[in-house]
Symmetry: C2
Subunit: 324 residues, 2 copies
């Protein structure tokens, strides 16, 4: 197998520049200049084999592409524009040169999709499983970023795309059941809602925002705590794909996957009710479904309401990595 330094050299040669990046791969640090009047946004993720992904299900190309998307999704959730990505990669002996090539291809495809450049990283042998540590940097005009804390009582709660598809795919794969191409795509090749996040931030449409990684129930909880408000969510207004609806018709309990399933990588945001027409127009422009699923309330707590007005309580909670 080619050595560590030749692998790094291969990455360096494929890495494309960026106007802001003044020093890329190959020195002790990268150097970049954040545009005047902008601030730097940074997010970091750790992805471990047999915790976050399984190599017997995920091909290395999809894995790398998803790892980029998942991280860029955090930039999207602040309304940021991508600058640079850093890859920490621990490679077990069992991960062959062919798999590594597929991984690198998927990585650069993801980088190109979001126009983010590879600016550095660290590679090593892993004694146990593939390890991915990704850090992304982006920027936004000072004053334009959208945090989780800006939601106010009376505002609408919106979500992009559809919910539960990724979790439904995972559920079916775990049960060794068949899965449609559309559901597989949502699980293995999620897309960060970058253009949407930028538009929501730069046009002043969202008051609070985050991306759905742990599931609507858990992530909305983060937004509510940060904003100091509660919420009512109408279950029958949740945006669901036709595939999801077909399964739901046979198994009504699957609705919990749309509430708690995780890995949707859609944007959840609050907005002033006066912005409804603007948001409808934005939805058509993207084009991407934007759905109002409820309202923020002064009363604390999160209430799910069914079509008949009765309360609903999902059975599963958000995934806690440290739970025993």
């Amino acid at each position: 197998m080619a050595g560590e330094f030749s692998f790094i050299e291969k990455l360096r040669q494929r890495a494309e520049g960026h106007a802001s990046l003044t020093l890329g791969i190959g020195d002790d640090c990268s150097a970049l200049q954040v545009p005047d009047g902008h601030e730097l946004l940074t997010s970091t993720d750790l992805l471990l084999e047999n915790v976050h992904f399984r190599l017997d299900w995920t091909n290395p190309h999809d894995l790398a592409h998803k790892a980029v998307s998942v991280n860029v999704s955090d930039l999207a959730a602040m309304g940021g524009r991508p600058l640079a990505l850093y890859l920490g990669l621990g490679v077990p002996r069992s991960f062959g040169a062919g798999q590594l090539d597929l991984f690198v291809d998927g990585l650069f495809e993801g980088l190109a999709d979001y126009a983010i450049c590879l600016a550095g990283g660290d590679t090593c042998r892993s004694a146990n499983g593939l390890v991915l540590a990704i850090t992304v940097q982006g920027h936004c005009r000072i004053g334009q970023r959208v945090t989780r804390a800006g939601g106010r009582a009376g505002e609408d709660l919106w979500v992009s795309g559809t919910l539960g598809d990724s979790a439904l795919c995972l559920r079916r794969l775990l049960a060794r059941q068949s899965c449609s191409t559309a559901l597989m795509a949502r699980h293995f090749r999620p897309r960060a809602r970058l253009a949407l996040g930028q538009a929501l931030a730069e046009e002043g449409l969202a008051t609070a925002m985050l991306d759905l990684s742990d599931g609507l129930d858990g992530d909305l909880g983060h937004l509510l705590r940060a904003s100091g408000v509660g919420a009512r969510v109408n279950i029958n207004q949740l945006p669901l794909s036709s595939d999801f609806r077909a399964h739901l018709a046979r198994q009504p309990e699957l609705i919990d996957l749309a509430l708690c399933g995780g890995e949707d990588y859609e944007l959840l945001f609050s907005a002033n009710p006066q912005k409804r027409a603007d948001l409808e127009r934005l939805s058509q422009r993207m084009p991407l479904p934007l759905t109002c699923i409820g309202q923020l309330s002064a009363a604390s707590g999160l209430q799910y309401l069914q079509a008949d007005g009765s309360a609903y309580r999902p059975t599963a909670g958000a995934f806690d990595h440290f739970a025993d």
Copy 2:
């Protein structure tokens, strides 16, 4: 064991702010403003249990402190000033709450030592061993950073501190031999040469610089390739600690640990010979030994010379993580 979210909350509460950090732990991204006229420096490292460290030798406090130092050392090597650190942490079940507390104490001690703030991260359960992914951000005035590529033939080659102590400690521990407190400190609690790196960059004393992590032989090779020059290094001028010299007197072959051993975390830099007096004064001011170990040459290649002028060739090369 306390859950993932309460662990993150504990980190958030202990994290101290920084004038440049406008949004810290707890949102999708951190946000920070790089000072006007400065550029952002970023470096990332992946540290894996049983590859980079062993928990039966290293206590979690030292491990966390060293992880911070090793990353800050990359900022030092560019002449940067620290801003923010991001921690990706994969925790195996075998790593108990008491160990996690020690780790967090060591982490914050390291952060305080270098006045760098914890600005974000990611935590998860690890199926196999402790995983640390650290990214550091710093800044330097545009035009002042020192890369590996600025060395010119005829310049002096300098190194800070002493070489080989960390590798000698590791060699003795692996052989189950005793080790002095001083050598142990160099291996388990290295200090990033941050003030030195800043002074060398800001006073325009170094033309090329990097930190010694893989060993002088390998790291000097990086500097030579990037600068397009060769070098002659005088073995008898290598700065060695009194402990190292005592061992060397009995085992002359240990000199290779000073050349190829790694984990010195000293700064290696080139400088114009006219700067010798300035560098002597800087050495006294720090105070930290700075030693001229040789010269850069127009002829390519790296030559080690013994006291009698004969050539020397070390037997070990730099550590290649992907070598089989």
